[in-house]
Symmetry: C2
């Protein structure tokens, strides 16, 4: 029996040109592509005409869908097919790539992991925010804001995180951010700490807004909508100086130039 193989592949942060060469090559030759939501459909254009393309628009925590995805990977690989399991960003960063690999290993299916550019890093880079900086940041912490509200026992202790790293990057944290901001201030971060909210990172809808942590704790953030990458720390204010990303010729940094007089915006 010829056994197939599953390629657990990162699709990058949105912009199809941020796919890796390896991912692009795999998509061109795949028999089956199983992809999640948030992946720009543009990246699927290079697939072969006879490729089977399955949308697995998984929401986090959806066990039923995960079982279907696992069963599909297994049955297609057992038929000898080349399966690309395509995930937004990097498959091993909040993408359950590790769990899918464990499932495949348990079922003796060969797999390969193809790293991708994660929006946790690309979002800030496109917004002109260096997550590390010789003078301002020598460490960065990436976490998810999602669990804060959905898990009984919170696995993210914001007060502990607050002062651990120079820069915090929070994914999937838009809805719970006012609460998170308050906990970070309780944990010892200054209310003046700059916060950049990058919406729709690496897409044509990308938009960056700058706040202070205190303003967000006080409710300025109820206008923050997913998908957003949130950057907390001194480097966030560099977005003003290094803003370069343009969509249709226009800056994507809002409410920051000229320096806003509004109480809710940082001007530090």
């Amino acid at each position: 029996m010829i056994k197939g193989k599953v390629y657990i592949t990162g699709a990058g942060p949105g912009d199809p040109s941020l796919l890796t060469l390896r991912a692009a090559e795999l998509l061109r030759s795949a028999d089956v592509i199983i992809y999640d939501r948030l992946v720009d459909p543009e990246v699927l254009k290079s697939a072969r005409d006879r490729a089977i393309i399955v949308y697995a628009g998984k929401k986090t925590g959806d066990k039923w869908i995960q079982k279907k995805i696992n069963a599909l990977m297994l049955s297609e690989a057992k038929k000898g097919r080349m399966v690309v399991r395509l995930k937004g960003g990097d498959p091993m960063i909040f993408g359950r790539g590790g769990e899918e690999a464990e499932f495949l290993r348990r079922n003796q299916i060969d797999f390969e992991i193809v790293p991708g550019v994660t929006s946790a890093l690309a979002g800030p880079a496109l917004a002109g925010i260096p997550l590390t900086h010789r003078m301002l940041s020598s460490s960065l912490l990436i976490t998810t804001g999602q669990e804060a509200s959905s898990k009984r026992k919170k696995s993210v202790d914001w007060r502990l995180l607050a002062r651990a790293a120079d820069t915090l990057v929070i994914l999937m944290g838009a809805r719970s951010f006012p609460e998170t901001a308050a906990e970070l201030v309780s944990g010892g971060l200054s209310p003046n700490t700059p916060v950049a909210v990058i919406e729709w990172a690496a897409t044509k809808r990308q938009r960056t807004r700058l706040f202070t942590l205190g303003a967000l704790a006080d409710g300025a953030g109820d206008e923050i909508a997913p998908p957003s990458v949130i950057v907390v720390g001194r480097v966030a204010s560099l977005a003003k100086r290094l803003d370069w990303f343009r969509v249709d010729g226009k800056t994507t940094l809002k409410n920051a130039r000229p320096a806003s007089a509004g109480a809710n915006r940082t001007s530090a």
Copy 2:
């Protein structure tokens, strides 16, 4: 006067197939390419015959070289040339991309930042280590070990970091790691915490070794050589279960199967 532009571009972690499509396209059309050490020369093969290719093998902290790089970017861009400033991994993660962007902005030179796959994430992925995992890790902290020994005031407080995130990823920390491991234990991490040391990530020399934090604090780590990506946390032990990366058909995980009886290796 036609002004050129500088593309601050990530070359990915080593394997040329992990370049982004955008980076590959820029390399094909660049007039000038200024690249750092640790970039696989293979990625330069697509450059045009008439492209000027400059090796800027910068060591961190080398101010003189940085000045030369800045001057070269400026003079070439002012001649109207398309300059690709190529950096290993992602240009904004310990790559001084932010500082170079600030320099260009101050000198009114247009720039673009092209994110790349960082070895901080790709190294673990290729070693079969998911940095986040629903059961084991909901946060990861990336930092550099280099400053620990070279700066008068340490900017990385290992005792504070120790328990902040579920997973620590340390770049450029090979030489100082025995010391770092001891500080992490002092900070409250169990000596049994698994540690994966991934040498030459994403190259044909990639090799993964597993230890415990306690064994490394006791000196097992004096054999750790740069370049290494070091992963500290429970996910590190998944390398045994998810090991898949092969070089010349051989596993790159050393001393882990069969479960070693040696005191210096983790078998948890």
